[in-house]
């Protein structure tokens, strides 16, 4: 319940007057205040700065330091004020929380200082209101990352007992841990470079020998290149197998991008070994060699900048997509226009619209090769418009990509997007919790308070004019654990329950019982429990007997007054086996048919509670006590 609304609780309770005349059951007893303290101003002296507020304001949140009796430890008798030796600036926002119900995070404040103050005053940070929550979470994350970075830099310890496999994995991931890892790192780097250079040099035409014409080096020194290739591939294979062995989770390792690059880099060689020198497949074999260029991507393990670039491109996927889409639109438009503009001219290169695509792309990216030029005047006009707009369209998404890259680079490639999604989920969960908080509090206290209530009820005298003092002590027992506001709110909800003769139920419990009653569909045989109509399981599709709401004037025998809405056990004892299978022991609405007998036992005894027309012999379900039966004798 929000703080400011707490002040409207008297109004809500007064508004319950609309329920009184229609209610058929008597209302529960209202909780009374133990000692009606007049509201007074209290002074909070925080390091010399005095804050003053009403005592009621602080009592709104009884589970914090200022709202509970914990603040008495800080009371100073001589000056009659509460003294706290804390930061007065932060205290301002904390006190505002009590006043307005919203906790704000001041931006100029350091995050750890603020957290300390919140912890001291017993306020959980999750209730920071939405306007400041994002900022708070961002700052907290930055701080945590900074601490983590510092820890990593300082960490040069070697954990005492790591397995050989773990050591190896650590060596692969972080080459600075040991000399061996460093050597390995540089060796692999060297061989990647050698392999790439080999691929490139292979195609350069070497000097012409006298007897043969000019041919690329690869074909001249085939064996040398083959040996080089083999050596590189062997090294890469060994490296890949070692990584595979050392990986903590092999399945995840195989799926990772780097491992795929590794595999694609070395596979062509093996395929080439396997395949024979067929004429048909040699063409495919040549294509496979293209994939050898992927070895250059292995450098990304060695360069962090490359990794950041790849990550940037991945995270800017939407901007890139937009760029592509807008370009495509523009290309199609301009290609069409150019085609029709140039249709008239003779020997035009613009033979079709797809043919004009090439012109449009070259013009929009301001390349201008000049292999296709418009000849008509209209074509030239549209061509110039095309090139101008090309500059615009391409320039628009580029700053976004650039800023993304710099942001990621500065944050050292944290997985921002994944965390943002978690934050969003956490926020939704927070809002849901605060919404269901008050309703679940009521249900929780109902379940816990039933014993107190039964105590209360057995002591009710049977006359109408009840003196409130006698049952007020029992009421005290109830309200001891919760604040007065809460108990008053719960009393209000209880009155509503009495008015409509239904009870609030927990959502999960409701689903549970609904599912179970839907399974069962026994005909309602009127048991011997009550002469009035007995509703069996609720929500059943069979014809139910109407539950009689007892009138105050029709208060005759106890049996008759048993408003059997609450009795679920409409099943005759014959079907115990079936029904007991469906029942769960801790399901409150369920009754064993054994307890059905208990019900009869209670009713048949002419006990005083049964004869009072107003006495509320209503015991609420308690999941911990399994055989308590819901009886309402009125």
């Amino acid at each position: 319940m929000a703080a400011g609304v707490a002040a409207w609780l008297p109004f809500a309770r007064a508004a319950a007057i609309g329920w009184m005349p229609v209610a058929n059951l008597p209302m529960p007893v209202a909780p009374t205040e133990k000692n009606k303290r007049q509201d007074e101003l209290i002074i909070l002296n925080v390091s010399g700065r005095r804050f003053q507020t009403w005592r009621n304001t602080l009592d709104r949140y009884p589970d914090t330091l200022l709202g509970s009796s914990e603040k008495e430890f800080f009371y100073n008798e001589e000056t009659r004020e509460y003294f706290f030796d804390r930061d007065p600036d932060v205290f301002r926002s904390i006190l505002n929380f009590y006043r307005t119900g919203k906790l704000h995070y001041p931006r100029y404040e350091c995050i750890s200082a603020y957290d300390e103050e919140l912890a001291f005053f017993g306020i959980i940070p999750e209730i920071i209101s939405d306007c400041c929550y994002e900022e708070y979470k961002d700052r907290k994350r930055e701080n945590a990352e900074r601490l983590m970075d510092d820890n990593e830099d300082n960490k040069d310890c070697k954990l005492p007992n790591m397995t050989f496999r773990e050591t190896m994995w650590r060596a692969f991931e972080n080459p600075h841990t040991s000399t061996m890892a460093l050597v390995f790192y540089y060796v692999t780097g060297f061989f990647i470079a050698v392999s790439v250079i080999t691929n490139v040099v292979e195609t350069v035409p070497c000097g012409a020998t006298p007897n043969q014409k000019d041919m690329p080096c690869g074909e001249r020194y085939t064996e040398a290149f083959f040996c080089m290739d083999t050596a590189c591939v062997m090294i890469f294979t060994v490296e890949y197998l070692m990584r595979l062995f050392a990986a903590p989770s092999r399945y995840r390792f195989i799926r990772s991008v780097m491992s795929i690059i590794d595999v694609v880099a070395i596979l062509p060689y093996y395929i080439g070994l396997v395949m024979t020198n067929n004429e048909d497949v040699s063409g495919a074999f040549v294509t496979l060699r293209v994939f050898r260029v992927f070895r250059i991507f292995k450098f990304s393990r060695h360069s962090q900048g490359l990794r950041i670039l790849g990550y940037t491109l991945k995270s800017c996927a939407s901007e890139l997509g937009f760029l592509l889409f807008s370009l495509t639109m523009a290309i199609i438009i301009f290609a069409t226009v150019m085609f029709y503009a140039e249709k008239g001219s003779t020997s035009s290169k613009f033979t079709s619209i797809p043919a004009s695509f090439w012109y449009t792309i070259v013009t929009m990216t301001t390349l201008g090769y000049g292999d296709m030029v418009p000849k008509t005047i209209a074509g030239k006009i549209f061509g110039s418009i095309c090139s101008l707009s090309g500059v615009l369209v391409i320039a628009l998404p580029v700053p976004v990509i650039v800023s993304n890259f710099s942001r990621i680079y500065h944050q050292n490639q944290r997985a921002d997007k994944r965390r943002a999604q978690k934050v969003q989920k956490a926020r939704l969960a927070r809002m849901r919790i605060s919404k269901t908080g008050s309703s679940s509090a009521f249900l929780h206290s109902k379940r816990n308070g039933l014993l107190n209530e039964s105590l209360e009820l057995t002591q009710l005298p049977y006359k109408m004019n009840i003196s409130h003092q006698s049952c007020s002590e029992d009421g005290q027992k109830l309200s001891k654990t919760m604040s007065l506001l809460e108990s008053q709110h719960h009393h209000l909800l209880h009155c509503l329950e009495k008015t409509t003769n239904h009870e609030f139920m927990d959502e999960q419990l409701y689903e549970q019982s609904y599912l179970e009653t839907a399974l069962q569909s026994y005909p309602s045989r009127s048991p011997s429990l009550s002469s009035q109509g007995l509703t069996g399981t609720c929500c059943s599709r069979r014809a139910k007997k109407s539950s009689q709401l007892p009138n105050a004037s029709a208060a005759t025998s106890g049996l008759q007054e048993l408003s059997a809405i609450n009795i679920q056990c409409g099943d005759p004892p014959l079907s115990t086996s079936r029904s007991s299978l469906n029942m769960r022991p801790d399901d409150p609405p369920r009754l064993n048919c054994q307890s059905g007998q208990i019900t009869t036992a209670i009713i048949s005894i002419p006990t005083p509670p049964a004869t009072t027309p107003d006495g509320d012999g209503h015991t609420l379900p308690n999941p911990s006590v399994q055989n308590i039966v819901k009886v309402s004798a009125l």
Binding site: G4, A7, L9, A15, A16, G18, M20, F504, D506, S546
Partner: protein, 225 residues
């Protein structure tokens, strides 16, 4: 014909102006804030002394009430949406907007669409500090939706449905469709003495005074504040 030409001219000038602004780069007009919401309606209540005379609250109680009122409604009046919002905070499980609407109608005695502090405190004074008859009168006024002096079955049905709506969906036992109607039937059985289908104020007060439950419940309001 001349009208057509006038319209054409107007459109042309608009287009020309648009092109001019397009070329000079001042396309977005500074839209004048012509929707001046007079949201700064502020209402000040009458003096403390006068309110104390009119209601049965002490000065201290009035001060506490006003502080809470002003905190939630800084402008000094509650409109219906705020009213519903405040009331719904107390009933998280159900839908209390219809009942809050009826309450709003009952509190807004001068029918101007907003409840000022005087209305609020007058209503509270009757409910919390009034005699049993006053309270019953107020309740009757709440039920009588069209204020014609008698409660018909339809009016009672609306009220009953709104009360049952506040319970929400997750109740034990399950909320049946005709639970409100049955409740209305039993209510009319109890209250309507001459069986003419409506409940007048005299029948209402008489029946309530005879009902011990209701009399006892009325005592609940004695120590709310």
């Amino acid at each position: 014909m001349s009208q057509c030409r006038k319209r054409c001219k107007r459109q042309l000038t608009k287009v020309a102006r648009y092109f001019y602004r397009f070329l000079t780069g001042t396309l977005t007009q500074d839209s004048i804030e012509d929707d001046f919401e007079l949201s700064t309606v502020c209402h000040r209540p009458e003096g403390l002394d006068k309110l104390q005379e009119q209601t049965k609250f002490t000065k201290k109680e009035l001060k506490v009430l006003y502080r809470g009122f002003k905190n939630e409604c800084p402008s000094g009046v509650v409109n219906e949406d705020t009213f519903k919002l405040i009331y719904s905070q107390f009933f998280p499980q159900g839908d209390s907007s219809t009942y809050a609407h009826f309450l709003f109608e009952a509190f807004d005695t001068n029918k101007n669409g907003s409840v000022s502090f005087e209305d609020f405190v007058t209503g509270l004074s009757i409910i919390l500090r009034g005699s049993i008859n006053d309270r019953l009168n107020w309740a009757f006024n709440l039920y009588d939706l069209n204020k014609d002096g008698c409660i018909t079955k339809e009016e009672m049905m609306d009220i009953m449905k709104s009360i049952y709506d506040m319970m929400g969906k997750y109740t034990y036992p399950c909320m049946q469709e005709d639970a409100p109607r049955e409740h209305v039937e039993s209510f009319f059985q109890k209250m309507d003495r001459n069986n003419d289908g409506v409940v007048t104020i005299d029948e209402f007060i008489e029946s309530c005074q005879k009902d011990e439950n209701i009399m006892q419940s009325m005592q609940l309001f004695d120590n709310v504040i």
